[in-house]
């Protein structure tokens, strides 16, 4: 999945650097938009999923640390 996203971004960025800014070929901008949106949406999915898991992981670590501290404190008493 990530390889696909990176490949999509790479295609768009490379073409933006290599190709001239104006082309007059017979093209359908709708098709390009469609592909671009797929790439962009996959990217958003990846970012949102990572963020969600990151948050979950932070909460998990936080809870774990609090638990450990509480246990330590209890043992100390």
């Amino acid at each position: 999945m990530y390889k696909q996203i990176l490949k999509g971004i790479l295609i768009v960025t490379t073409t933006s650097l290599v190709f001239p800014p104006k082309t007059y070929a017979y093209i359908d901008p709708g098709s390009g938009s469609y592909v671009f949106q797929i790439v962009l949406t996959i990217l958003f999915t990846a970012v949102i999923t990572t963020k969600t898991y990151w948050k979950k992981m932070l909460i998990f670590i936080k809870t774990l640390v609090i638990k450990l501290i509480k246990t330590k404190n209890a043992e100390g008493k």
Partner: protein, 462 residues
């Protein structure tokens, strides 16, 4: 048997799901059989009610009348009447921004109900009772899990592109939407935008990269075998567009017209007197719709609006229209619709067969035209003869409240500072003579401590 007078509205001819038609002066929308399932889901999923709850969609009632084309007809609905239709090229920046945000909000609610917007045309949004809302009830289709938003490109071209151009380059670039009715092409947008927009990742993606993708990704294998797109990603895309549009603002731009009322050449007492005269004349005419031409920030539009009269506040200066819109939005004013229109070159009929977007005159006549401190600009700045101005007003409105300012007035003298006074016919006598061809004068009242007179006129029946 009385002949039924009916016709299809050209603005709705593109939609295979249905169309608008007028029958005996009432507007209806026919829903075609091909849209039956979508309409059923639209009602059953509560999307219709959820959108109504947030005032995001025009309400309608289902009727039992016969459709325009009986074979294709599934249902006929009667949408709530919108007294004045305006177009995106007549909106100020904040109006277009609010319309864009409403479109995104609708798409979010639709996704929650298992549906999606199949188009994101700015022409589907209208300002009604002070707020933007969707007028195309047939814009929704079932959301198929894994598919992208089919209207993404249209949204970028019709909303994001003009908004970013106005915000980052020049507010007048909104006029490009007059040429490109389907939306400003992204390659053109990208070439016009300054470098700084490439440094903002989201704008870089939605506009610049998107434009390149339109050219170079037209034969990608994703078109034949598109990968599944998650709803989370889709919502992320909508959120991202929403956040970026919310952040857009206009750079502060000075306009000589914004301070106009602080720099009048007659005392505040005169302004109060003028408001009283306008109010009295409006009571005399009892209009339902007023067009305030050269409305500036709309201080006289407010006089009409307070009488529950729908007032279209028209000015060609974007800055004052923006101020007028934001002021009215702040106080929740429902009766004023500010629009950016140059009345020396009013919006023309456009679109397919010159019939999709109607000209300003075709959207009239207004019950009353307010033309305060306007005549001298038309006659002197634009060299328009009184006869032509009178004819224009007689086409635009059924009655007229107009201010005549004598040539000796300092504001008129300012207009003559850098030019020869070739305006020998600019006299009160000539003004009355030419306007009497089209109107009858019901009353005229001089504004105290000024060289100004306000007239109330009614169109002659010819």
């Amino acid at each position: 048997m009385q002949k039924v007078n009916e016709n299809i509205l050209s603005s709705s001819i593109h939609d295979p799901s249905g169309f608008l038609f007028q029958r005996d002066k009432t507007l209806y929308r026919q829903i075609n059989l091909s849209y039956k399932e979508s309409y059923y889901l639209f009602i059953k999923s509560n999307l219709y009610h959820n959108l109504l709850k947030e005032h995001l969609l025009i309400p309608h009632t289902e009727t039992s009348i016969k459709g325009y084309s009986k074979q294709d007809c599934y249902k006929v609905i009667q949408p709530e009447y919108i007294p004045f239709i305006s177009y995106p090229y007549e909106w100020c920046f904040s109006q277009l921004k609010d319309a864009a945000l409403v479109t995104l909000r609708i798409q979010k609610i639709a996704l929650e109900s298992g549906m999606t917007l199949k188009d994101a045309s700015a022409y589907n949004i209208q300002f009604h009772k002070g707020k933007p809302l969707l007028i195309d009830t047939l814009s929704f289709e079932k959301y198929k899990e894994g598919t992208p938003w089919v209207a993404y490109r249209q949204f970028c071209e019709q909303f994001l592109a003009p908004l970013v151009l106005m915000s980052s380059e020049d507010v007048r670039l909104n006029q490009l939407t007059k040429i490109y009715l389907e939306g400003i092409p992204l390659d053109l947008t990208s070439s016009l935008l300054p470098l700084k927009t490439k440094l903002r990742p989201s704008l870089f993606a939605h506009l610049h990269l998107h434009s390149l993708a339109q050219k170079h990704l037209t034969r990608h294998r994703f078109l034949k075998n598109p990968p599944s797109v998650s709803k989370i990603g889709l919502k992320g895309l909508i959120d991202n567009l929403e956040n970026n549009i919310e952040k857009l603002s206009l750079p502060s731009r000075r306009s000589p017209w914004n301070d106009y009322y602080n720099k009048t050449n007659y005392p505040k007492k005169g302004v109060i007197a003028k408001k009283h005269i306008v109010s009295r004349f409006l009571n005399l005419l009892k209009p339902k719709i007023v067009w305030d031409l050269g409305a500036n920030i709309g201080i006289y539009s407010k006089v009409a609006a307070q009488k529950n009269i729908l007032t279209i506040a028209i000015d060609n200066d974007h800055t004052v229209v923006e101020t007028c819109y934001l002021d009215n939005k702040k106080v929740g004013e429902k009766n004023i619709l500010p629009l950016v229109i140059d009345i020396t070159n009013p919006s023309a009929s456009m679109g397919w067969n010159n019939q999709e977007q109607r000209s300003l005159i075709e959207r009239g006549p207004a019950d009353t035209i307010l033309a305060l401190a306007l005549l001298h600009h038309l006659a002197i700045t634009h060299n328009l003869p009184f006869a032509n101005i009178a004819r224009f007003f007689s086409q635009a409105g059924r009655s007229l409240i107009i201010e005549f300012i004598q040539k000796e007035d300092s504001q008129v003298q300012k207009l003559l500072t850098t030019r020869d006074d070739i305006f020998n016919t600019y006299t009160q006598g000539n003004f009355e003579k030419e306007f009497l061809v089209y109107f009858s004068i019901r009353d005229k009242v001089p504004i105290p401590t000024s060289l100004r007179t306000i007239y109330v006129m009614e169109k002659r029946n010819k």
